[in-house]
């Protein structure tokens, strides 16, 4: 309207759900705002004071009315609650088969690491029509990866992995914002998502990853950091074999069982003593401070690649 944008692009599957809820809420709010406003104005005019000593009618209250305007809003809020929760569950549960991409936030840029090896800064190329999962972490403070056109965002927290997923529906270029205040250049921590047709995307992917795939970088690191002195492909090392670990339950020495997801692998590398695998001594050195977040991603991707293909659905 008048060249003023009033409504954002909606370019992901979940955007439509969010928009529907939004319009419902605008409707409810509009209804009540207008109701209250018109009642006040009407009363103010109709019952305006006509002479100095006039007083109002001495009405004290009415139980029925009170009950009505407690119960009706309550029911409306219940509707909103369930609706909001439903949309939220969609956002929080990625489909089983996703294209995985790693994102590292740092003051003040986004580093994107594709599994095939491409790296990007403040840009993210994805194919249209395919669910994409971003696995994100931060090197310093809390950031927030936000794509308004997809209606998704999440805080990117140092010290753990955070994931969001979306399925782009329209090719195009969309804004990325950092939406959690992170210091001086917070407002400069922006970028764009480029959504491409699958074919173009394939061409883009093959366009060159000088260092090879992420997993192969990880493999090199695994040797450089001497991980392979303890974790050997056979069972003779001091550490457990890492084949077939990812995605499987791991028995810990205190008896509990955890699933070896990205966060677990990450923790195992950075602070191995926190969760010690059953049957092993806690001799693995802590690599916290020794490997960067990006190297970590490569290592994780390598360890993932040692597990059977069904776990590697994310590979393009």
């Amino acid at each position: 309207m008048f060249g003023i944008p009033l409504f954002p692009d909606s370019a992901s599957t979940v955007a439509a759900d969010v928009d529907a809820l939004y319009f419902f809420l605008v409707g409810v709010s509009g209804f009540f705002s207008i109701l209250i406003a018109s009642l006040i104005v009407a009363f103010a005019i109709k019952y305006r004071r006509r002479h100095v000593n006039e007083v109002g009618a001495q009405v004290q209250g009415g139980l029925l009315l009170e009950i009505a305007w407690t119960v009706i809003p309550f029911l409306i809020t219940l509707v909103i609650f369930f609706w909001g929760a439903k949309v939220y569950f969609v956002m929080a549960s990625p489909p089983a088969e996703t294209l995985n991409i790693y994102v590292v936030g740092k003051q003040w840029m986004w580093k994107v690491q594709h599994i095939a090896g491409q790296r990007e800064i403040n840009q993210l190329h994805v194919p249209v029509g395919r669910p994409v999962k971003l696995i994100m972490t931060s090197e310093d403070v809390i950031h927030n990866f936000s794509i308004p056109a997809f209606r998704v965002k999440a805080d990117v927290i140092p010290g753990r992995f955070v994931q969001i997923w979306f399925e782009p529906t329209k090719p195009g270029t969309y804004q990325i914002f950092c939406a959690e205040y992170c210091g001086t250049k917070h407002s400069g921590m922006t970028g764009e998502v480029v959504v491409m047709e699958p074919v173009e995307y394939q061409t883009w992917l093959s366009g060159g990853a000088p260092e090879g795939s992420l997993a192969s970088t990880g493999e090199r690191l695994f040797a450089d950091l001497a991980c392979n002195t303890c974790h050997r492909p056979d069972s003779r090392g001091r550490g457990p074999m890492l084949n077939n670990v990812f995605g499987k339950p791991v028995q810990l020495h205190d008896g509990s069982v955890v699933t070896a997801d990205e966060s677990y692998i990450r923790e195992s590398i950075l602070t191995p003593a926190a969760k010690v695998t059953a049957g092993y001594q806690p001799v693995m050195p802590a690599f916290q401070g020794l490997v960067s977040e990006e190297q970590l991603l490569a290592l994780i991707e390598y360890i993932k690649s040692l597990s059977p293909p069904s776990e590697k659905a994310g590979q393009p």
């Binding site: 954002p8 809820l21 709010s29 019952y47 006039e54 209250g61 140092p158 400069g188 926190a274």
Partner: protein, 537 residues
């Protein structure tokens, strides 16, 4: 015959700086607060002006990014901790609590003065932080930015918040004890004006919530100063825990900021409709309901911050519950106007403004409480618009309405009616122009705390900045004409509005001891026709 000021009242009971700075009279202390709070409001307002100037253009060209970050941080801290939280309780509350319950003073007059000094000391710390470089963490001071990365003056600012916190606690304590123990004979709980219920509920929140923010900022200071690790992921700490602690206080604090204004509105609506508040008990209990439920919803600020899904669901549901008592209030005020004798004097205009804007602000809170919606809206201008609608459109309207309503009691004189209506109008228009476009910006996705933004958003931002300048003028006017009326305004007389309530039964301004004889209460607070219905129309 013109009305005249009484020969003896609290304002001419001693002159000179000492009679003010060492006073124990709750009315004078209220005025001390009024002065201090006004200063802080204009400091905070000046920051807002600079923010809006910067945002008039998409490029970050007016101030540097660091300066901008300090601007909104200091704007938030000053406005929240040094203006809005104390505004109504410390000024109007201090002035009115003893008057409305028919007491001579608060339970602990010296403690009351001490609270003011503590507030000032806290303010000085913050001021010191400000002039030696400012703080750039946002008012929410999230770790680890605040504990490890920022290089700005966080410790003095944190101490400032810590210290003022004690001032709020002591004031709250004072009010609670006063309301329990010093009510005039016959003033049962259900004969108390609704303003007192609101103040009582606010004080409860103060007492129960403020200590938690105190310990939280202390931990931040310890982490910065002594390298202790509480929220530091590199030693295994969880930054999200800081957010839990912060919001455990800061969500209830938003009700500290709105409940007193709701109390004022109840008084205004009753007085200017000359009618009892519809559903007195519902309005009274909804204040307590908000105070209690308000403690159960803090997690709605951290839906996308790595909180467990199930906790988010619980917090979302509870957030909807806390909206119900607010809804009850809005409906009851509206119903009070039905068949009232509605006067269009300035305070009533503010009350009407409050109801309308609070409704919009509150309803947009429902958007945010719906988790799936909040994911898109959080940390965008939608949030900014939501809370300015409640805090500026709501609470400040309530505060100004209350100030105008009780001004004749405070000063003994009337303010110029025409001018005050004009500025109420300017404020209403300026306000909506400033903050309505921000809802749209928010849904478009413009993040908050952005020093520069994509050019697409410019038109809406320009509208907002234009509105802010109108709003600024609207706020300056009352300052001048109220000051003017202190000297030149016509004397008001004891009860210029023909309102009921104990405060109107003593002279304006009241004598130091408030009432010549202890009043005895036999009637409900809003019993019309009141004893004196004769003055202004």
């Amino acid at each position: 015959m013109a009305v005249e000021l009484p020969p003896h009242h609290y304002l001419n009971d001693g002159f000179g700086i000492k009679s003010w700075l060492l006073t124990r009279d709750h009315k004078r202390i209220a005025l001390l607060y009024l002065a201090a709070i006004t200063v802080f409001f204009f400091i905070g307002g000046a920051f807002a002006v600079l923010i809006r100037l910067e945002l008039a253009t998409p490029a970050g060209d007016f101030v540097s990014d660091d300066t901008y970050n300090e601007l909104f941080t200091m704007h938030g801290i000053v406005m929240v901790f040094f203006f809005l939280i104390p505004a109504i309780p410390a000024v109007l509350g201090n002035f009115l609590v003893p008057l409305q319950i028919g007491a001579k003073d608060l339970a602990f007059p010296k403690l009351n003065l001490l609270s003011w000094y503590i507030y000032i000391v806290g303010g000085l710390f913050t001021f010191y932080a400000l002039i030696t470089g400012g703080v750039d963490t946002g008012w929410t001071m999230y770790a680890p930015l605040s504990t490890k990365f920022s290089t700005t003056r966080i410790i003095p600012a944190a101490l400032g918040i810590f210290i003022t916190g004690f001032s709020s606690i002591l004031t709250g304590l004072n009010f609670i004890v006063t309301i329990h123990r010093m009510r005039a004979p016959g003033m049962t709980w259900f004969k108390m004006p609704l303003f007192l219920w609101a103040i009582y509920a606010t004080s409860l929140i103060n007492i129960l919530g403020t200590p938690v923010i105190a310990i939280t900022v202390l931990l931040v200071a310890a982490e910065r100063l002594l390298h202790f690790g509480f929220f530091d992921p590199s030693v295994g700490g969880d930054p999200v825990l800081f957010q839990h602690l912060f919001w455990f206080y800061s969500h209830p604090a938003v009700y500290i900021m709105v409940l007193p204004a709701m109390g004022v509105i109840s008084e205004l609506v009753a007085a200017f409709c000359r009618k009892p508040v519809f559903g007195y008990r519902f309005v009274a209990f909804s204040s307590l309901g908000i105070a209690v439920l308000g403690f159960l919803v803090w997690g709605h600020h951290i839906f996308v911050a790595g909180q467990s899904i199930y906790a988010s669901l619980v917090f979302s549901l509870l957030s909807f519950l806390v909206a119900i008592p607010s809804a009850i209030k809005v409906f009851n005020w509206t119903a009070t106007m039905y068949r009232g004798s509605v006067s269009w004097q300035t305070p009533m205009l503010y009350a009407i403004g409050f109801i309308g804007l609070f409704t919009i602000g509150g309803l947009t809170g429902l958007f945010l409480a719906a988790i799936g919606m909040d994911v898109h809206l959080t940390d965008t201008y939608f949030i900014i618009a939501h809370f300015h609608y409640i805090m500026v459109g709501g609470t400040i309207m309530g505060y100004l309405g209350g100030l105008h309503y009780w001004w004749p009691k405070i000063s003994g004189r009337m303010y110029p009616e025409g001018l005050s209506k004009l500025s109420a109008g300017i404020i209403f228009i300026g306000f909506n122009l400033t903050f309505f476009p921000q809802f749209v910006l928010g849904y478009l996705g413009m993040p908050r705390r952005y020093h520069a933004y994509p050019p697409d958003f410019q038109v809406l931002n320009v509208l907002s900045s234009a509105g802010a300048s109108i709003l600024g003028v609207g706020y300056l006017l009352p300052m001048f004409y109220l000051a003017w009326s202190l000297r030149y305004g016509p004397a008001a007389g004891a009860n210029p509005w023909g309102a009921s309530g104990l405060e109107w039964e003593t002279t304006s301004p009241p004598p130091t001891e408030n009432f010549a004889t202890t009043p005895i209460v036999t009637e409900s607070p809003y019993n019309y026709p009141s004893p004196v219905v004769k003055h202004v129309a």
